[in-house]
Symmetry: C2
Subunit: 555 residues, 2 copies
């Protein structure tokens, strides 16, 4: 244990420094190149994934299961993967977690942080396998699967470890308190403990099975809480590998692997509520729809961290080069077919058009440029399929196909996108619909998937007012804005800041509003209905433990 | 403003350092001596208080009131004070707060911290006036009134200012983010803002009108939120003076004094719910009964900080000197007649008695020693009345008079305590009731006031189990334990830490389980039903604002 602590302390210190500097930092390279990850890493990872099809997943160390279940299917193949996972009764999982709690909470924060950092090193060895697992459960492209589920997730996990370690060591373990009383001093010996709250539950989503789950999982673990990881039943494998690697490290250090357990749903029912309502479960991390998220937030006696749904806006006021803007936005809308929580949905364009350089470009021309850029990308056989990926589930696909907004007009219809490798892939190019600013009930809902709405406003003032209102009332995770006017920019910053929404200004080229960089961008602010948690601000970790002090007369 | 920032920065830095060192620190001396506060400070303070009787309180700067109201009466005189405060409609108070929000939130954290620290300097000039105001509303002795409402409250306020300032400056205001992309670097200019959540509401209690209210009030203010301070209708004057001084400083610096407003209840109804449910109110700090506290905690869309009721335990296992222990505990029970949230109520004594040095002292002897110490203190005319103070309200007095526990026996009856100055003071010496360990329904309730229960347990193991269970299920703010056995001590620390309850071990002499020192002891842990807030851990301030980031291509 001492060796592990010594080994990982420099990485931990660097991560803490990065968290506060917020400059570029990545402990895990995002480039899946053979130079970095090894010549055979890709082939081996792919083979490891392929070998899992139609097999039982037996890597977990959490006892004898009550059954074997599996519901995953590949959005690229629209066929079941056939992988089965061990099923355990919810009450049994909670009992196991409670049994494992004692020794875990009694470790020092530095020891837990070291073991968890060690687990990330092991997971790194399996980034390619996790990438293929992600691709064939979520429908992400290979590149996004690799980056999001591998290095970016590992960086977010390290962020949580670092933040948790830092917060638990911000107050002394002991001190001598000496109060002058005139003729004598009153002297107490005082000690403090950062006391974990209890069993943690992490409920994953189907689109980002590791990226959205590891921050809460590692945050609860580093603060001494045992964790149950309940993946979405359609996206289990990527996080199962992560949990298995954590369990291996725990076992190697003589700890109960059931400090971190995988909790898959039963074949015939979901177990999220059973777990969440168990009195021993004190912490819940959740990514998914608003309705279940609000149910969780309303549970008494639980500390709940959510990332739910939001409606993300782009405000178009003025720019230097409209073509570059249109290309950037088309990419943002198309990336993973709009299935990112940071994907923009509502594009606010003033009826009078927008200022481009010295010229006023009419509204319709702006709209057509956006549509042309979306079409151009979707129809580019070298780029389109790889940017769009596949549609994770049938409901999302149907939403696009059946989209019927009341009012406005269709600017661009969705269409098929042929994938070069997977002929049966569930794909779809983005559609664009124009709607009037006064039909807020039509665009205040999250239309998850490749759906882009152009909202015609009176002017930029109305655009800002509506974007801020949507964020405040319905939630938002990202906001894009294009303006060359510094007063407008400050106004957008001010109003969106009150709506708890980060803003990316004037992005063109290879950087997109959807992207959030570990150690620099807080992902979700926690300040609007899109979610109450932020990766990784101090609140995300300190709510997982309690400071308790002890004192006695000093010797 | 620059000057104020420069002037107060050293005090702020010292306070932040103290928060992390957690050694003894006090910015405001607790000794009401003429050498420290001036030869005439006491006389002037008393005269200022006396002059307020039967007058309107006109120091506030918050516009034309809708009426004048006042319901305070002195527990020492059992006569109305006759002071009237300006009443404003709740909706008007909220509108005023919203109007004052903009300029306040746009100040830098260091500027807000400086102005608020300045206000504490002004309040210091009125510590004696506040002391008499506290004495004649709460029934505290003069010494406690001075210390709790004056220097100790100011230190807790400074703690909140320091913690709020530190947390708002833990991340950079701006940075250059430069990501290597192989052939070029992707460069973004990033900025962050700590964005306040909105209008804060602080609901005070009748026993500690400034001490329990200033932490939340200053925490919300330093993080940029305007605040409405709603005192208990029976204890307005002490906090009214605090609010008036804050308003004066704000006005001097050209700011709207309505950034901080006093919100007194109407003559015929309480306005707490009207204010709490107003959608603009985002933050609520509350001290008081559990029922209203739980109602507040259940409000959607609010961040709520509570200190509710708890049942505090003392575990008696073994000690070196039982007489010293009995004297210490008698003082703790008697201090302000058990009306402190930290006062012990349940004393767990094993049926087989306790180990004192090399001897086993039988149970009954332990109980009688405790009773004798309580009686001795209450009947000591030089100490008793000053330690006990007066009973704040009639209900508390009646609870003691009518106490009828089902089962057990009365060990000591309450009795009258003559006050040397105030012949009509509402006073009462503590009663002691013995009850069997299996009657948990009898002792799991908070019996606010001078009521001490002795619970006869099988052994220390049962004592620990019950004390931890009570804390976990019903809440506890303090715990005292006496043991000379290091294994028992560690067990108590471990079990009470899981119940989120601080423990004071083996206190004798002039230090008591009831006391919590600013900058060192976290007051309430937030980890059990007694309250979700802790003075002042980072969580107490960071939940009042949101980190929001902005980014754009770097020039």
């Amino acid at each position: 244990m001492t060796e592990a602590t010594r080994k990982h302390q420099p990485a931990l210190d660097a991560a803490i420094q990065a968290l506060h500097g917020r400059t570029f930092f990545a402990a895990f390279p995002e480039n899946p190149s053979p130079e970095i990850y090894g010549a055979d890493a890709d082939a081996n990872g792919r083979a490891a994934f392929e070998a899992r099809r139609h097999q039982r997943y037996t890597e977990l160390r959490q006892g004898e299961p009550a059954g074997w279940v599996g519901q995953e299917e590949s959005p690229y193949e629209q066929e079941p993967l056939g992988i089965e996972y061990p099923y355990f009764e919810p009450a049994m999982l909670v009992r196991n977690a409670e049994a494992a709690f004692g020794p875990w909470r009694k470790l020092k924060p530095a020891q837990r942080a070291a073991l968890l950092t060690e687990s990330l090193e092991r997971i790194r060895q399996r980034f390619f396998e996790i990438a293929y697992a992600t691709m064939h459960t979520t429908g992400q492209s290979f590149m996004m699967s690799f980056q999001a589920s591998g290095p970016h997730a590992a960086d977010r996990a390290l962020e949580a470890i670092a933040a948790g370690y830092e917060e638990q060591t911000r107050f002394p373990e002991e001190t001598r308190w000496e109060k002058p009383m005139g003729k004598y001093n009153l002297t107490l010996h005082k000690t403090w403990r950062a006391v974990p709250k209890g069993v943690g539950l992490v409920i994953g989503c189907s689109t980002f099975p590791t990226w959205n789950s590891v921050p809460g999982m590692y945050a609860s673990l580093v603060t001494g809480n045992p964790v149950l990881v309940k993946p979405h039943p359609k996206a289990v494998l990527p996080i199962a590998i992560v949990v298995a690697e954590v369990q291996k490290v725990l076992a190697e250090y003589g700890l109960d692997p059931r400090i971190c357990q995988l909790a898959v749903d039963a074949a015939d029912h979901l177990i999220g509520k059973d777990l969440a309502e168990n009195p021993a479960v004190k912490l819940i991390d959740y990514t998914g729809g608003a309705q279940f998220g609000e149910y969780l937030e309303g549970l008494k006696g639980k500390t709940v961290f959510t990332e739910k749904t939001g409606v993300n806006s782009v405000i178009l006021d003025s720019c230097d080069d409209l073509d570059k803007v249109a290309q950037n936005l088309a990419f943002s809308v198309s990336l993973y077919s709009g299935q990112m929580c940071t994907a923009p949905q509502n594009f606010f364009v003033p009826a009078g058009g927008i200022r481009v350089g010295d010229e006023q470009v009419p509204y319709e021309e702006v709209v057509q440029k956006l549509a042309a850029a979306v079409t151009g990308l979707a129809q580019n056989p070298k780029a389109g399929p790889h940017v769009l990926g596949a549609i994770q589930n049938r409901d999302t696909h149907e939403r696009v196909q059946k989209l019927a907004l009341d009012g406005g007009r269709s600017v661009l219809a969705h269409g098929p996108v042929e994938h070069p490798t997977f002929k049966n892939a569930r794909t779809c190019s983005p559609c664009i619909h124009e709607i009037s600013a006064d039909r807020i009930e039509q665009y205040s809902q999250e239309l998850f998937g490749p759906i882009m709405l152009v909202i015609k406003t009176r002017d930029t003032q109305e655009s800002i007012r509506l974007a801020a209102q949507l964020a405040r009332e319905y939630g938002a995770i990202s906001c894009g804005a294009y303006t060359t006017n510094s007063a407008v920019k400050e106004q957008i910053m001010d109003e969106m800041s009150l709506a708890g929404t980060p803003v990316s200004f004037n992005l063109t080229g290879n950087i997109y509003v959807n992207q959030a960089a570990g150690f620099s961008d807080f992902h979700v602010t926690g300040g609007n209905p899109a979610g109450n948690a932020s990766f990784t601000n101090p609140e995300f970790v300190i709510k997982r433990f309690t400071w308790v002090g002890f004192r006695e007369p000093a010797e």
